[in-house]
């Protein structure tokens, strides 16, 4: 069963535990600037929104790569960057419509979410379940359930 990261912005508090967990897994230090998942603060609106790669089926980044450095992990469905092959041309960063592939000036290759090989650290670190790792076919399950609950007869509640 494939799983996907499910993001529910209304639950996010902006604590950045996910960014620390992501960067520690990838870089061995707590470094939000190197996190593959980013939290955006919308100050006037009073909202926090996590954003990361959604692992497109027809991935623009993968098709754009001239050296085939981005490959599909068949087990997780993640589009993964092979650091040794990447030449740092950044074409994938232009191709991605969502901006979730980014260049890392220290490693001189691009970086993106690889779902941590099927056990994403961001989801484990999130204290409010704003980020969860769920069945890809049913990412709407909890929302469906919440709406279904609204239709329960009151006297049976």
């Amino acid at each position: 069963m494939l799983r996907s990261l499910q993001i529910e912005p209304e639950k996010c508090t902006g604590c950045l535990q996910c960014e620390m967990a992501c960067s520690y897994q990838a870089e061995g230090v707590f470094n939000p600037s190197k996190s593959r998942i980013k939290i955006f603060t919308f100050h006037d609106e009073g909202r926090f929104v996590p954003y990361t790669c959604t692992q497109c089926t027809e991935a623009w980044c993968l098709h754009a790569c001239p050296v085939e450095a981005i490959v599909i992990n068949e087990a997780t469905g993640a589009k993964e960057v092979i650091d040794d092959i990447c030449v740092g041309c950044k074409v994938c960063t232009i191709a991605c419509p969502f901006g979730t592939v980014n260049y890392n000036q220290e490693t001189a290759v691009v970086q993106k979410c690889d779902l941590c090989g099927g056990d994403p650290e961001c989801a484990k670190a999130c204290p409010t379940q704003a980020i969860t790792y769920v069945d890809s076919d049913h990412s709407g399950l909890e929302r469906m359930r919440a709406h279904a609950a609204q239709n329960l007869p009151q006297d049976n509640a």
Partner: protein, 616 residues
């Protein structure tokens, strides 16, 4: 390890910027942040110096846990000599700035001297430079934040800044970071402005590492988070209602200072409570509270993010206040609300926005306005002084006016900006100032909560709830319940809270964790991150050492045991209502015992034996 072991030293007088290794012997003795930076200040400055002269230094400092995955570990402090109190000042803030400083590679930034012209300090990892700030001088904290972001074309720069109040000499000016988090108390912002330093802007991309034992660290930090999540205060009360969970509670126990401490219960408390912030306004169909939020790394998330009704008189036709911003904490709701007798939630929220916009401590501001209102009602201040404004208790219009002129340093606001003590002295009624060592009280009346009176009287930075929050024990039963009206045993309780808090403030974590955590929860996290053995016992000794060092600084600055007292109103005038009716604060019963448990003389001076036991 966990420390970056690097210190950045900036001499504003001659513009030199140098780096040096962190003194690890001191780090072993004082841990980090509050303790360690105070040690640096003690070693490098004269405690008798004028706080606003170039001789005073100002240290921005992180703790060893700052920037790690330990819950709430994003804190930084500003340590300096206070212009408000003449005591040691250490103000602690959350938001994202502290982590950015640590990620840039610095345990500490020491700022000394005074720049000949307005500047701001820009730090990008190991690159640091002083840049001209002539175009930022005279701007609010919010405008300055926006302009620096625009100038560097980098939304990820984190900025700590002073507003117009500090430039105009308001003695309780704060340093605001991330728009609405503040190193709030004791006038640390006034010191920063006195150095012609408008802002510190940081971008850090180096990462925080050097975890001594990663396996132990992740286990300990996960255990800690679990304790916070399962605790009723940190897991439920604070995320739902913020610190405002306390408004109704403290009013009910008869310890909510009202109208400059004339009373101890406020008839309008429920209207300005955390619960009231959730109620939908009739006017615009929205609640005051939009959502809760977290500082960096915090799994509690007590921040209030709020709006004011766009048609409310306080913000009408002022679109800059129509969006969301930092909402009311209990302290601010009390100082701007109950202490001024104001029960208009939107007005208090708007006044709080103004405090954030120009970086002013809302506790001292509200308490000073409350003193001014009493002076006005007593006829000591008149409309001639205020330029026509009737400064009456309960007037939301007067509150907003007084707030605006103070945060902008205009007219009568310059007098209010001197704080309650100087204001009441000037108008001939010093007894009306509700202060200790020149700093205004926070939101707990020591007649209804006896132990906090001793904590206020002996606090090293003047009246303050965050130097020894015995309210946790006396009201909330944390870690165990004591009778708020009793004085027995409070000396030991105050000492225990003061010493433990000094450790928390030196580690890089938030004091609010201690609603759930004891040193038994905190020490394993420090121990796993830092080299050496950091047991709870060692932490307590470090805490006591820090407290005593701060005391010695104050003694050297000329503040003595005589200053360990409370205003007469709290010692003589009994509470008129509530559970504490008929009681004043019995400081005289607690203070001698406090000196004894601290190992100090009857005059409040640490004995040689105590100093040597603590390695001072």
């Amino acid at each position: 390890m966990a420390w970056t072991r690097n210190v950045l030293r900036v001499n504003l007088t001659n513009g030199s910027i140098t780096t040096e290794p962190l003194n690890m012997q001191w780090a072993n003795d004082y841990l980090g942040q509050r303790g360690l930076a105070t040690k640096y200040l003690v070693e490098e400055t004269d405690p008798t110096c004028d706080a606003l002269s170039p001789d005073n230094k100002m240290i921005m400092t992180t703790g060893p846990l700052t920037g790690t995955m330990v819950s709430t570990a994003g804190r930084y402090s500003v340590v300096t000599k206070s212009p408000l109190t003449g005591c040691i000042a250490c103000s602690n803030s959350g938001g994202y700035f502290g982590n950015e400083m640590k990620n840039a590679g610095w345990d500490m930034v020491i700022l000394e001297g005074k720049s000949p012209k307005p500047v701001y300090l820009y730090i990008e990892n190991d690159k640091a430079e002083l840049l001209p700030a002539d175009d930022l001088w005279g701007k609010s904290a919010w405008e300055t934040d926006e302009q620096i972001h625009a100038k560097h074309q980098d939304p990820l720069v984190r900025i700590a800044v002073v507003g117009r109040a500090a430039e105009k000499g308001c003695l309780f000016s704060a340093i605001v970071n991330d728009l609405h988090r503040a190193a709030g108390r004791s006038g640390v912002g006034t010191v920063m402005a006195s150095k012609n330093l408008k802002a510190v802007a940081i971008r850090g991309t180096r990462g925080v590492g050097n975890i001594s034992d990663p396996t132990k660290f992740f286990k300990a930090s996960e255990d800690g988070k679990k304790v916070l999540a399962e605790n009723a205060v940190t897991g439920e009360g604070l995320p739902a209602l913020g610190t405002q969970v306390l408004m109704n509670v403290i009013n009910e126990v008869g310890a909510l200072p009202t109208r400059n401490h004339r009373e101890v219960q406020f008839e309008g408390a429920s209207k300005i409570s955390g619960e009231a912030m959730l109620e939908v306004r009739e006017s615009d169909g929205k609640a005051n509270l939009t959502t809760n939020g977290a500082c960096f790394g915090c799994t509690i998330a007590c921040q209030r993010i709020s709006t004011v009704d766009k048609d409310h008189f306080s913000v009408k036709d002022k679109p800059q206040y129509h969006g969301n911003s930092g909402g009311l904490e209990f302290e601010n709701a009390w100082s701007l609300g109950s202490d001024c007798g104001v029960d208009d939630l939107d007005a208090i929220t708007a006044a709080n926005f103004l405090c954030n916009e120009d970086a002013v401590d809302p506790i001292s501001l509200g308490a000073t306005i409350a003193a001014a209102m009493e002076l006005f009602e007593e006829g000591a201040i008149t409309v001639k002084d205020t330029g026509g404004m009737e400064l009456k208790f309960g007037s939301a219009e007067a509150l907003l006016w007084a707030t605006e002129v103070t945060v902008r340093g205009e007219g009568f606001g310059k007098e209010l900006g001197q704080g309650s003590k100087r204001l009441c002295e000037k108008y001939g009624r010093p007894e009306l100032s509700m202060t200790v060592k020149g700093q205004e009280f926070p939101a707990y009346d020591p007649r209804g909560i006896q132990g906090i009176g001793l904590a206020y009287a002996t606090s090293n930075r003047g009246a303050c709830h965050l130097r020894g929050y015995t309210v946790a024990s006396e009201i909330l039963g944390i870690p165990e319940k004591t009778d708020p009206l009793a004085t027995d045993g409070k000396a030991g309780l105050v000492k225990a809270f003061q010493d433990a808090t000094a450790v928390v403030d030196s580690a890089g974590i938030c004091a609010f964790t201690t609603f759930a955590w004891t040193l038994e929860d905190i020490a394993p996290q420090i121990d796993a991150a830092c080299e050496g053995d950091w047991s709870a016992e060692r932490c307590l000794v470090v805490g006591e050492r820090i407290w005593t060092m701060e005391r010695d600084y104050n003694l050297a600055a000329g503040i003595t045991g005589k200053d360990d007292t409370l205003p007469k109103r709290l010692l003589k005038d009994a509470a008129k209502t509530g559970p504490a009716e008929g009681r004043a604060n019995d400081l005289h019963k607690m203070l001698p015992e406090y000196y004894e448990v601290r190992g100090w003389t009857l005059d409040g001076v640490p004995t040689d034996e105590t100093r040597s036991r603590l390695g001072l």
